[in-house]
Amino acid sequence: MNYLHLVITGLTGLLLFLGSVDMPNTGDPTSAPAVHVSPRYIEDSLEETAVPNMVTAVLADYRGFDTLGEAAVVFTGAMAVLLILRTKREEP
């Protein structure tokens, strides 16, 4: 049991919680994330894209560039594992 690390962890948790008391209540429909950008996505996604799933419409159509970068990240992860782990077999 590492007591110094426990104390540091407890202090960090306390500071984080004190920093989060000013956030709006959970489930508040008038909080800032629910009022600024998302009403436009919710109300206009079905008529503009004809796709009922709003999450897929935002992911693949309105924010399609981020998903392209995302696919590149997955590809890069697989290539990094390949570079680290595959070694050239010595010719017998």
């Binding site: 503009e48 894209t49 004809a50 796709v51 009922p52 799933n53 999450v55 897929t56 419409a57 992911l59 693949a60 159509d61 399609g64 560039f65 998903t67 392209l68 995302e70 696919a71 590149a72 997955v74 590809f75 992860g77 697989a78 594992v81 390949l82 782990l85 595959r86």
Partner: protein, 138 residues
């Protein structure tokens, strides 16, 4: 896990379950439009079906059917499909990844379907590639 599994239950159950898991993975990719799902989720389910096959049959037997080169090609082909749809939109006169110029009755829905399939293929190939690399390292 490199050779065939020795327990009878593992061999029988995994072999029977793999087609159902694959059909479910393809269903989740294709129905990303009207139910929760999409490219990433369906790609992971499809990759887990290949891992189940490795669990029951051994890595050598699976690599004879799905070779290392095929998996690498699949990983790259998905990203190429995604970027290719964007370039096709560019060639048809609109901005990059602007689906409204594609042919069809609902062009944005068609563009979304093609890129979700591309993302699904990439995620499947990447996860199977990572898994087989981690397994065959000695």
């Amino acid at each position: 896990m490199k050779e065939m599994a020795t327990s009878t239950i593992v061999r029988v159950v995994c072999r029977r379950l793999v087609p159902f898991v694959q059909i479910f993975g393809l269903y989740v990719i294709m129905h990303g439009h009207s139910s929760p799902g999409g490219g990433f989720q369906g790609g992971v389910i499809l990759a887990s079906s290949f891992m189940l096959l490795v669990l029951c049959d051994g890595l050598e037997a699976v690599q004879q059917k799905f070779s290392v080169a095929l998996v690498s090609v699949a990983t790259s082909a998905g990203v190429l499909l995604y970027a290719g749809v964007g370039i096709l939109c560019l060639l048809l006169g609109a901005n990059y990844l602007d689906y409204s110029v594609l042919p069809g009755a609902e062009p944005r829905s068609l563009g979304m379907l093609v890129i979700e399939v591309g993302v699904g293929i990439t995620v499947t190939g990447a996860l199977v590639s990572i898994f087989s690399d981690l397994l065959s390292f000695e």
